[in-house]
């Protein structure tokens, strides 16, 4: 009794008439991890068209930016993508520092790298657990949160908070790191390596997982470029685009690390990119801890009330989900004329409609999970 009246005959892309019905995936659905709604036109279990509907958690972050000073807007940046709050704050303070021509001391830059990479690992761990949850495996989530807990404890020690840090300040950092943090981070790096190995043997090499991911949800280089996809999505399609390498910022040029890239473009490639990135982040953290310079963590002469010279400034960072860029247009006032946030999740989501056409529902959800969407990051 579904529902003869709900079936509609549509002409699909291949010219054949299909009897379709519409499923609303979300805004409350376990697979969308937030308030994303995807309007799916289905033919049985095949997706004819999947249309993401955004805006359920739109908070006008950009408009808020036009109404407050730079220092006042800073806490907002942590709340755009709450899972990689560090890198987002980095993008904003980077833009302001570039405009104000502030020289950030090297120790602060190093600590920014360390905390950003810790944050990247914790973000990838959440993705890993939630992705496996999408695929029906519940247990990895708890293991991932176990590791993430250690990162949060470390970051809580120096920043005072566990999710939205606001640790980076314009011109430097909120405070210096202590020995507990350095020792704890070294211990964490040593612990995390065997854990990654265990995840590989427990989960990555599992035949069911491989069958669900390999050759599922292929995304071509062209599609990535067309929609502006960045981060692990484009690197999983064989393009070694990483802001840390192509537009080096902060202290990143001083470290030796590889940008993991996979040619296949399927969900497995994106999975492997993120797993490999965690290992690379550990490498960066280790090097940064070894070379950590002494000195202050705050630039001298940061004005109490910041007025940026008139102009148009942009600063991009590699967040956990891809390129996050902040564009500030200033008209020489205390509050910016315009703040534009370029968030990776929105562009990564926009290719979903094209990539998911003709897929089965569970495969499309695996594809959506492999894009690693954070919904507040889409809506801003």
């Amino acid at each position: 009794m579904l529902v003869k009246e709900q079936l509609k005959t549509e002409i699909s892309a291949d010219g054949a008439p299909r009897e379709t019905f519409v499923i609303n995936l979300g805004p409350q659905h376990p697979a969308t991890h937030g308030v994303l709604r995807v309007k799916m036109t289905m033919d049985g279990e095949y997706i004819v068209r999947a249309e993401p509907v955004c805006g359920y958690i739109h908070r006008m972050q950009e408009k808020m930016g036009e109404n407050r000073t730079y220092a006042q807007f800073l806490p907002n940046t942590s709340r755009i993508d709450y899972l990689s709050a560090m890198t987002y704050t980095h993008g904003f303070v980077g833009a302001v520092e570039r405009a104000a021509k502030l020289q950030v001391p090297p120790r602060a830059e190093y600590i920014r790298v360390i905390t950003s990479e810790l944050n990247r690992i914790s973000s990838h761990l959440v993705w890993w657990g939630a992705f496996l949850l999408d695929l029906g495996g519940f247990t990895p989530l708890l293991y991932a949160f176990d590791d993430r807990e250690k990162i949060l404890d470390l970051l809580e020690g120096i920043t005072g908070s566990r999710l939205t840090y606001s640790y980076f300040r314009i011109g430097g950092l909120y405070n210096d790191v202590d020995d507990t943090f350095i020792k704890g981070t070294r211990a964490f790096v040593a612990q995390m390596r065997p854990r990654l190995k265990m995840y590989r043997s427990l989960v990555t090499d599992n035949i069911i997982l491989r069958k669900r991911l390999i050759e599922i949800g292929p995304i071509s280089k062209e599609m990535c470029r067309k929609y502006g996809a960045t981060g692990p999505v484009i690197r999983g399609s064989g393009v070694p685009y990483d802001v840390r390498k192509v537009e080096p910022y902060s202290a990143y040029p001083e470290f030796d690390f590889v940008i993991p890239t996979f040619e296949e473009g399927d969900s497995m490639a994106r999975y492997l990119v993120r797993m490999e990135e965690m290992a690379q982040s550990l490498r960066i953290i280790e090097q940064a801890l070894d070379k950590l310079p002494a000195g202050p963590v705050m630039a001298e002469k940061v004005p109490r009330v910041l007025k940026l010279p008139a102009g148009d400034y942009c600063y991009a960072v590699e967040a956990a989900r891809g390129r996050f860029a902040v564009r500030i247009v200033s008209d020489n006032k205390e509050i910016p004329y315009r703040i534009k946030l370029r968030t990776p999740s929105l562009s990564n989501l926009s290719l979903f409609e094209e990539a998911s056409a003709g897929m089965l529902l569970p495969d499309a959800l695996a594809l959506m999970g492999s894009l690693d969407l954070v919904i507040p990051d889409i809506d801003r």
């Binding site: 659905h29 279990e45 695929l135 495996g137 708890l142 069911i208 069958k211 089965l360 569970p362």
Partner: protein
């Protein structure tokens, strides 16, 4: 010493004995369904390195009772536009076959409610009703997720019933009987007499067991084959619209079916109530022997149930077509091959 069952039947007439067994089975199933949920939650917690339920009772042992009380006190919502009768009947339709099938499972030498000659046939006849219950539940809910789930359940259960029956036919040929009590008696002796290890009768006996076990997981819609209620895709699948005890009965039926499947696997392959050490520990005819038999049966059955829980919390869910491919491309050819092989072996060596 007269056996327990003989003593009972000497004291009471047949109908009374039947009532006694039926009440026994129903309370056994009820207690099991409740406490398997506890085992599941506790087991899942241990696999995930967390304590699990601890608050209600010692080690959370009263948790299932609290859960049941909660479910019973909930309002039974019948959504607008559903087929009321079918919507109500579906959970019962799922629960009752499992209960009835347990009547022929021999828990001990004489511990079976009905010792009938077509016990195995009866279990599979009732087992097929199961799929209809989920299908009706999903179909009558008037919910798109539930309908997708119902369609999945039908194709999944049809696909897995075939290899399962082929395996069972192999076992019937090997044992020469469909009476479960006789099947267990044929496995008397030490553990290498169990059909799992009788390579002289069926060269691929362990593989036969694996096929049976896989099909059992698929038939009971357990992870990694839990297509019917794939919670990250279909919310709760066919059960989406059920609330309160409507859902509770589905839930109980799921565990009763696992119980039944594991009990059947124990009787068919693991020697049922036979001790793994043969007759060393006494005579099965005695009352103590019957209780000892019950002990061994439960040990084997709960081991299998534990492995079901273990698998669920270890593996991700399979793809739907991967699931069907596994059945049609691997399990059915292999089980057909075992059938032919063991019939040839029986002809040549017996």
């Amino acid at each position: 010493m007269a056996s327990l069952s003989n003593a009972i039947s000497a004291l009471w007439p047949e109908p009374l004995r039947l009532v006694l067994f039926v009440v026994g089975i129903m309370s056994f199933v009820g207690a099991n369904a409740a406490y398997l949920v506890w085992v599941e939650r506790k087991g899942a917690a241990r696999f995930q390195r967390r304590p699990g339920p601890t608050e209600v009772g010692w080690a959370g042992l009263l948790q299932p009772i609290a859960d049941a009380a909660k479910l019973m006190s909930k309002q039974l919502i019948v959504p607008a536009g559903v087929d009321r009768t079918l919507f109500r009947v579906a959970p019962l339709l799922m629960m009752s076959p499992a209960l009835m099938s347990l009547a022929v499972i021999p828990f001990g030498e004489h511990l079976a409610a009905r010792n009938i000659n077509v016990g195995l046939l009866m279990i599979f006849a009732f087992g097929s009703v199961n799929v209809m219950a989920i299908m009706l539940g999903g179909w009558s809910s008037r919910n798109k997720y539930a309908i997708i789930s119902a369609a999945r359940v039908v194709s999944q259960n049809v696909a897995y019933e075939i290899p399962m029956l082929l395996v069972v036919i192999t076992m019937i040929m090997v044992t020469g009987t469909m009476n479960l009590n006789e099947i267990v008696q044929n496995q008397a002796g030490p553990f290498w007499k169990w059909y799992l290890f009788r390579l002289d009768l069926n060269l691929l006996a362990p593989i036969t067991f694996l096929i049976f076990y896989t099909c059992m997981l698929a038939e009971t819609n357990r992870a990694p084959f839990d297509m019917a209620e794939a919670e990250s895709e279909l919310v709760a699948g066919a059960y989406t619209e059920y609330s309160g005890m409507g859902f509770g009965v589905f839930f109980m039926a799921e565990y009763s079916n696992i119980l039944l499947g594991c009990a059947l696997a124990t009787a068919l392959f693991l020697g049922g109530w036979q001790s793994p050490f043969g007759h060393l520990l006494g005579n099965w005819q005695s009352t103590i022997g019957v209780l000892l038999g019950l002990f061994w049966f439960l040990v084997k059955m709960y081991f299998l149930i534990f492995s079901v829980v273990w698998i669920r919390w270890t593996f991700p869910r399979t793809q739907f077509y991967g699931l069907l491919n596994l059945s049609w491309k691997i399990l059915i050819p292999v089980s057909l091959f075992t059938l032919i092989l063991s019939s040839a072996m029986l002809k040549l060596f017996r």
